[in-house]
Symmetry: C2
Subunit: 432 residues, 2 copies
C-alpha cells in the first residue's frame, strides 16, 4: 500500500479505543508541555512578530493565540502558535522522525478544533493521530532528507498537521489523501534557518500549511493525491529515502510513546551528557582534573560551541552546560542560560577541562561522561531512548510546567487537560 | 557578488528612469493580460475555492479579489489572485525562467500597493522589478531545478513576489536580502501537481509567500539572509544549478522584454506547433494521412497526453489541439477545450494520425509540423522566440483581452493602465 493511502486510512479509521493507554497519556503530557513552552515563549521576538502580523490581518474569531486575547482565523493561529511554541526550542522531539512533532501538529489541531467547536476528546485524538502520522512520514523521508538540508519539523510536520485538521473537519480517507497530495506542493522548511527566527517559524509553517490544505480540500480542492511519493512527488524531489517500513505496525504500535521531552532548556544533543553527568554529582569542582564527553558525531557540528559568550550560544555548548550543572545552575530553567554565566570565572575554569570526542558506535541519544578527579575517575553513560516509566515522565513534565508557568497556572492547565481538554478552555489558557 | 545581494540591490536601487521604454510598455501589457486572464478565470473551481477560503477568514480590508467586491488582507488576496489568474493557464511565460512571472508577482504587488496606498507608478515599477528578479532567479535555479520536479512559477516566483512587496514597503537592500533569506524556507511548489488545481494554486503560493515574508521582515524578522545560495540553502537543496551568469546585465538588459504571451488557450508547449501548423492551413481533413510533430524533449512529459477525455486534458495534448485547429476550432477561445471536443469522432480520427517526436536540436520554443496528405507533404517550423514587434504584441494582447472581457471592459481596463495604473482603480476592475 502506498504511504499516502496508509497514513490516510490510519488517520481516518483509528478510533479512540484503538489507542494504547500509554499513547493516550503521552498525548496529554505532550499537550501540557506544548502549552507550557508556548506560554514561556510567547514574547520571544519571533512569536511577537508573527502574532503581530496575523493580528494586523484580523479576521474571523476562530482560534486563540499565545500571548493575546484576540482570536484569529484558524490558519493564522496555527502559523503564530507554531512559531511561538518552538521559539525556545524547549518542546518535544522524536529522534526517528528527526523533528519536533508537537509544535507542528498541536497548533493546527487546536485551531481547527476551536473553529469547529470540536470536543476535547476529538481534539486530543486528532492531534495524537496527526503526530503519529507526522512521525511516520518523518521516518519515511529518512535521514537523507534531513542531511540534505530539510527540516522534518516543517516538512513531515505539515503532513501530520494536515491530517489532524482533516480528521477534525470530518474528511474521509480519500479527502485525507488529497490533503497529503496538496501539502506535497506546499510543505517547506530548511535547516539553514537554524540559529535564526526561521527555525521556530518553520513549525508555524507546518501548522498553517496543514490547516490551509485541509480547509481547501474540504471545499473541493483537487490536487494530485499521489504527490507525496509519486515520481517528482515530495519525497523524490526532497531527497526522501522512501523508507516504506516506516508504516510498519501503524495503528498497533505507537511511535508517540517514544517521543522525548526536554528537561533541560538547551539543545537536545546535550541532554544525554547532562543526564549521565547528573548521576555522578555532586563532585567538588576543585577536585576535577578533566571532564571527557563522548557523543555521537552528528552533535559535533550542532552543539559543540567551544567558548560561547551569549546565553543562546550556551544552549549549544557541552563545554558550558556541563560546568553549569556541576556548579549547581539549574539547566532546566530558561533564565540559567545567560551571557553572564558564559563569563563566569568558575564556568570558564571548568570549561578549560572539558574535552568532547565523537564516537560513531554511540547512537544519537547516547553519551558517556568521565570525570577524572583528585579522588579518581567517575564515569556514567546515558541513553535518552532508555524507557522512562510514564509516571516518572508525568512527574518530570509537571515539574517542568511548574517551573515555566508557576505552580498554580501549571496546575490549572493540567486540570483542564485531565477534565477532557476542551479546546476553548485550552485556548483560554494561551493568553498567559 | 552573491545572487542575493545582486537581486536585492537591483530591486532597491533601480529607478523608474533606468527602465527601457520597451520593458515599461511590456509591464503594462502584461498587467492588462494578467487582469484579463484573471477575470476570465475568476469562477474556475480553484479560484472559487481559494477565494471562498480567504473570504471565510475575512479580516482587514486591504486588497481586492478577482470575483468579489470584498477586500481582504494583502497576504490573502495574493494567494487567491495568484490561483485565479493562473487557473486557465492562459497567462504569460518566460522560457528562460521556465515559469509564469506575472501570476506570481502581480498579485503580490497589487495587494501590497493597495494595502499601502501606493501610486500607480510605484506599483508598476515594483511589479516590473519583481518580475525581472523572478526571471533572473529562475534562470539561476536553472533547468535541473525544473527537471527535478520543482515549479519555477512557484519557487522563483516567490522571490520575485517578495521583492516587489518589499520595494512597495520601503525596505532597504538589507531588508530585501532578508526577505529572500526567509523565502528560502517558505518557497515551494511541485510540477507533480500539473493537471490539477495544484498548478494554478502554486502561483498563489508564490504571491502569498512573497507578501508574508516582506511583512514579517518589515516587523523585524531575522532569517538567514544567505539562505538562497548558502550550503543547504534553497538552491543547493532544490537541485538549483547556481547559474551565476543569470545576473549578467541586470538593470541594463531587461529579460522582461522577452516574456511570451499566450495567444492559444492551452499549454505553452503546444503553441509553436500550432503556429507552425497555422501557416499550412487550410488542409482538407479527409486528405490527411499523417501529422508529424517534432518538438523539444521537455514537452514530451508536459503536454503530450495521447488521448485525453476532458477539456483540461485537451490543453496538454498535441494529438488533440492540432486536429482541433485543422477542424476549425478557435484555439484562442477558452470554450473550445471541452470534454465534447475530445469525444468528437472527427478529432479522434485525426488524433490517430498524429505522431509526436522529440528532437533535442530544437529549442523549447521551436516546433516543426509535417502533414502528409494525398496531395503530398506540407511542412513548416515556428519559433516562439522569434522577435515580435511590440506594436504587434500590443494589438494582439488588446484583441485577446477583448475576446476574454468584451470590448468595452477590455478598453476600460487598458484606459486605467494607460492613465497610470492606480492600484485601487485596478483593484476595482477585478470584481468583474
Amino acid at each position: 500500500m502506498s504511504i499516502t493511502k496508509h497514513v490516510a486510512e490510519f488517520t481516518y479509521e483509528t478510533r479512540g479505543q484503538d489507542v494504547t493507554p500509554d499513547a493516550a497519556l503521552m498525548a496529554r503530557l505532550s499537550l501540557l508541555d506544548w502549552i507550557a513552552v508556548g506560554l514561556a515563549g510567547r514574547d520571544e521576538p519571533v512569536a511577537r512578530i508573527t502574532r503581530d502580523m496575523v493580528l494586523d490581518e484580523g479576521g474571523t474569531a476562530q482560534a486563540s493565540l499565545f500571548g493575546s486575547d484576540t482570536r484569529v482565523p484558524a490558519r493564522a493561529a496555527a502559523l503564530a502558535n507554531g512559531a511561538a511554541s518552538h521559539a525556545l526550542d524547549y518542546d518535544d522531539t522524536h529522534f526517528a522522525h528527526i523533528g519536533h512533532p508537537s509544535v507542528a501538529v498541536f497548533p493546527a489541531a487546536l485551531a481547527v478544533a476551536q473553529a469547529r467547536g470540536a470536543s476535547g476528546a476529538d481534539f486530543l485524538h486528532a492531534a495524537l493521530l496527526g503526530i503519529e502520522a507526522s512521525i511516520r512520514v518523518g521516518v519515511w523521508l529518512g535521514r537523507a532528507h534531513y542531511q540534505t538540508g530539510f527540516h522534518q519539523t516543517a516538512t513531515a510536520g505539515a503532513f501530520g498537521a494536515g491530517l489532524a485538521a482533516a480528521r477534525l473537519m470530518g474528511l474521509g480517507a480519500g479527502g485525507m489523501a488529497m490533503v497529503l497530495g496538496l501539502l506535497a506542493t506546499r510543505a517547506s522548511g530548511l535547516k539553514s534557518q537554524f540559529g535564526t527566527m526561521g527555525k521556530p517559524f518553520n513549525a508555524g509553517l507546518a501548522a498553517a500549511n496543514g490547516v490551509e490544505a485541509a480547509q481547501l480540500v474540504a471545499k473541493g480542492f483537487v490536487a494530485n493525491p499521489d504527490a507525496l511519493e509519486s515520481p517528482q512527488g515530495f519525497g523524490p524531489t526532497h531527497a526522501g529515502e522512501s523508507i516504506n517500513s516506516a508504516m510498519q505496525g501503524i495503528g498497533k504500535e505507537w511511535l508517540f510513546e517514544t517521543i522525548s521531552h526536554k528537561f533541560h532548556a538547551c539543545c537536545h544533543g546535550l541532554h544525554a551528557a547532562l543526564e549521565a553527568q547528573a548521576t555522578l554529582l555532586p563532585i567538588a569542582p576543585d577536585s576535577i582534573r578533566t571532564i571527557s564527553v563522548t557523543t555521537h558525531p552528528r552533535w559535533m557540528t550542532v552543539c559543540n560551541q567551544p567558548a560561547p559568550t551569549t546565553g543562546l550560544g550556551a544552549k549549544f555548548s557541552y563545554t558550558t552546560v556541563l560546568p553549569m550543572q556541576i556548579l549547581g545552575h539549574d539547566t532546566a530553567r530558561l533564565d540559567s542560560y545567560t551571557d553572564a554565566v558564559c563569563a563566569d570565572p568558575d564556568v570558564q575554569a571548568l570549561r578549560a577541562k572539558v574535552s568532547v570526542t565523537a564516537d560513531d558506535s554511540l547512537s544519537e541519544t547516547q553519551a558517556r561522561v568521565r570525570i577524572d578527579t583528585t579522588d579518581g575517575p567517575h564515569e556514567a553513560s546515558f541513553d535518552l531512548d532508555a524507557p522512562m516509566p510514564i509516571a516518572t515522565r508525568q512527574d518530570k513534565l509537571r515539574l517542568k510546567a511548574e517551573s515555566l508557568l508557576g505552580d498554580s497556572r501549571a496546575g490549572a492547565v493540567w486540570d483542564i487537560i485531565e477534565k477532557g481538554a476542551d479546546p476553548d478552555a485550552i485556548g483560554a489558557t494561551l493568553h498567559g
